[in-house]
């Protein structure tokens, strides 16, 4: 069984977002880069399948030189191979999906795992797009995955409940929190990963379907007011304000 896990390098989720000169992108100064949190669940699931079913796990990332850090980390955690698809960030999920699909096409992956969205652009689109481009089944926001012979059964967060999706392999699965508890790299793993090579391939040339033409910070919220009195008075005042001033009740 062959598994491909797509990883995205993103700013640490605690990062204070600043806009770079030019006004269209994130100011990378002082940004700590990490593996997108949901991608960690995808990688962990791949590694568990490797242990349970002797699967081969390849990790892949679309990005620039620095994205090798997340790939190196995946090798430390137990991935067999890691591939950097060299490309510059476009902010277009379809372009990223096309680069990933062009790489995966014909390589015989049974499962392609993603986080349900990459922190930052937050489109939650690349997994489903890769599924469509490669003609695969998909299950998104998966919290439990069982892989059988040529089939899968996934539990996912659906519309107001847990949905069970059954489908054929190969499939695209996007991971949601709850799928598993990601492991930490061992010192032995980290040392071994240093000796492994990360394959570097030029990402397929694709035209962008959209561009980010401006990045702005949200307006500051106006100063609020604190309500005085005992609990009963505060409650009465609040409901009055919500109804008559804010008009939201």
């Amino acid at each position: 069984m062959k598994i491909l896990v797509a990883l995205k390098q993103v700013p640490d989720t605690e990062t204070k977002i600043k806009v770079a000169a030019g006004g269209t992108s994130l100011d990378p100064a002082d940004v700590k880069w990490i593996t997108s949190p949901y991608d960690e669940y995808a990688l962990e699931e791949g590694l568990r399948l490797k242990e349970a079913k002797a699967a081969e796990v390849t990790t892949v990332s679309v990005g620039e030189e620095k994205a090798k850090d997340v790939l190196r980390n995946s090798l430390a955690l137990g991935a067999d191979n890691a591939v950097l698809l060299k490309s510059t960030e476009t902010g277009d999920p379809l372009a990223v999906a096309k680069i990933l699909a062009a790489y995966a096409e014909g390589k015989g992956f049974d499962l392609v795992l993603f986080g349900n969205k990459g922190f930052g652009s937050d489109n939650g689109a690349v997994g489903a797009m890769v599924a469509e481009l490669l003609g695969l089944s998909q299950a998104n926001l998966v919290t439990k995955l069982e892989v059988g012979e040529g089939t899968f059964r996934a539990e996912r967060e659906g519309d107001g409940g847990t949905e069970v999706v059954e489908g054929s392999l190969p499939a695209v699965i996007t991971a949601q929190r709850g799928l598993n508890e990601p492991r930490y790299a061992s010192l032995k793993g980290i040392m071994a990963a240093k000796k492994k090579t990360i394959e570097e391939v030029d990402g397929a040339t694709v035209s962008a379907a959209m561009i980010v033409s401006a990045l702005t910070l949200p307006p500051a919220r106006p100063e609020g007011r604190k309500l005085d009195g005992d609990a009963a008075t505060q409650a009465q005042t609040l409901l009055g304000l919500l109804r008559d001033e804010a008009k939201v009740l």
Binding site: V130, L133, G161, T162, V165, V212, R225, L227, Q234, V248
Partner: protein, 320 residues
Amino acid sequence: MILVFCELKDGKIRKASLEALSEARRLSGDAPVAALFVGTSCVGSNDAATFGADAIINVEGPALGAYSSDLFAAVIADAVKAKGATALLGAATPLGKDVLPRVAAKLDAGYAAEVTSLALVGSKLQAIRPVYAGKAFATVDFSSSIQVASTRPNVFSATECPKAGAVETLPVPAVDFKAIVKEILAKGGGKQDLTEADVIVAGGRGLKEGANFKLLEDLADAIGGVVGASRAAVDAGWGIPHSMQVGQTGKVVSPTLYIACGISGAIQHVAGMSGSKVIVAINKDPEAPIFKLANYGIVGDLFEVLPELTKAAKALSLAK
């Protein structure tokens, strides 16, 4: 033409779908807007006329009883092609977010998720959407000939604008689909999804234990809201499911009213709710960062304040 993928729930068009339809109407001016419905039955779709649909397209059949992303994507993409639509909108509901990216890839179209503002520049869509979990906003310009966007619930207004709503049907394409929803395990008890809720009452570590969420439920019932939680509450082992979590690693919500109870206002929580129109914070710590965001703040003991609020709300019968 703009085509709007609309969802029905219990024979009624979902509010989030009406918002997308209204926005399409507003963008289109005199140009036509079509509303698309997909399911075993499309009874209820006629109401789309009231909200600006010149045409209502129903794709009905027993094969559409259970959700299959590849089949639904084929149905929607076929409708876009059949109508010659250049833009496709849908609400960013769980189903919309699942199927629309797949449709976009099928149509070689750019896709922007959870947009909060839309415009037509020339003949193409321009969208503004939150990125970095709402810590910033990106303006995206499309260059693809077809453009697809999902609209964030509770951001656009659903406004009546009656049009002809001429009903037509399209056949269900013969697709040998590859995956399908087989069963639904835990129903959400008929409660609205947090991302679509108008009013959210959320609790954090200050609730002290899971059983105390009853106080939030009581208030939510009294004012017609849904209960949410901070990551601290979900991680505390109180039996609060992750599906209730609001924040960067949970749901990003944009209700009209967000009442944060016993939530300090960690950056990761704020990222998920700062798009709320009106924020109320109830916390015993006057220095809690949540008060910086709150339109109205109550420094006090939530175990005293919440029952008073519920009692007062019931007296006013505020539940919608």
